[in-house]
Amino acid sequence: MSNFARFAELHVPGSPLVLFNVWDAGSAQAAAKAGASAIATGSASVAMANGFGDGQEVPLEFVLANAKRIVDAVDVPVTVDFEGAYSTDPHEGARNIVRLADTGAAGCNFEDQVVGGEGLHPIPVQAERIAAARAAVGPDFFINVRTDLFLKAKQDTHDEAMLDEAIRRVHAYAEAGASGFFVPMLGNLGFLGRLCAEATVPVNFMTYPGCPSDAEVAATGVARISHGPFPYMALMARFEEMAREALG
């Protein structure tokens, strides 16, 4: 079975693939040792570990080289958090995704927020970017398209209108060639259930402090649970404690 097929079939609605996000080859190996069936990077974690800001401030060449080192370090499929593919131009973004696929990665996250700007790209713009990426990278690469609708708004403002917008986006993105749909910071289980019922591609939930349990999330039909920057942040807090103890 190809790396792509292996990765795609891990996305089972109701029995989600759990991704414990990493940032370098060493952390990828540590997660693989825990029995991870796939490895995902987090862009914020990669940025923090290397002293860059998030929001495409990690140089593209660094992202690609880091991805290649991670792919070479583990025996399981790797998906890379690729932010906005480092271009608002659909064809340049698509070329960047092809370069990412050339590292051996099985997939990527690709987000609809205007990186370094305000708000989200309109649906037709984002759909065009997805279609260009799909045409360039071929049918198998797992393009996990992320909407930042819920990330950009406080959780107590998440309402029906936003859910409707998310449903419009998942339909348009799936039609344009997305393999999955990622909704970070959507935590309303009722909304997740309705989104999963509407979506024709696997839905990805991101954990955050105080979020519903994996079991509750799985019951809504989610097919993938990732951890974003939280493993990195928790581990670095722990490292600080270890250092404080050693420094005495």
């Binding site: 060493g26 997660a31 825990a34 493993p231 807090a237 600080e240 250092a243 404080r244 050693a246």
Partner: protein
Amino acid sequence: MPSTPSQRFATFAALHVPGDPVILYNIWDVGSAEAVVKAGAKALATGSHPVGDASGFGDAHHVPLDYVFANAGRIVEAIDPLPLTVDFEGAYSTDAEEGGQNVARLKATGAVGCNFEDQVVGGEGIHPLELQVSRIAAIRRAVGADFFLNARTDLFIKYDTRDDALVDQAIERGKAFADAGASGFFVPRLADPRQIERVVREVPLPLNVIAFPGAPPKAEWAAAGVARISHGPFPHRALMAQLTEAASAAIN
């Protein structure tokens, strides 16, 4: 305003006090460096093994030189004004002049010092004393007076007798390294306080030993005259074990 290199060199050298050792909790990238700064460190040190493991290149000169320099430069910038010393293994060349040039390039990243070891990287045993002395002298010529060249002997790693005859050899090396221009003497796996006392007494350089799981308490080493205690690969290993544990809890 960023600190000047001469400020950082002076700060770093002054931290090496026999009996009141500077503690270096080894790091590998900017994020780990920032965590150790927050913990109150006075100086930062990379470990070549952690950098090799974290990046996936592996230890023993497998991390490309350009990566070592870029990583060091990022850390220097992130922790300013604290000083950074880099574990530079065998300076990526057995040729004395080329090793000197490599250390000069490392200095250009803003690092205040480095470890430089006498084992034959990728080979067997340790370099003959005469050769190692010529390498140290070449580095000193290449980097000028104030770069902290922490000359390491791997006698205690390569030969597990760890007896008094080995201490004699270490002392012979330490004295010769000092004459050649070393700033510090690093003997990983030297652990016995009585042996440490002998080395401190006879080698005219600040002594660096490495803390490892099961090592004597730091206070005992300090009392024996140690001036610097580093942690080598152990912080990264311990942290990655915790990551495995956390990932396992999340996945299963």
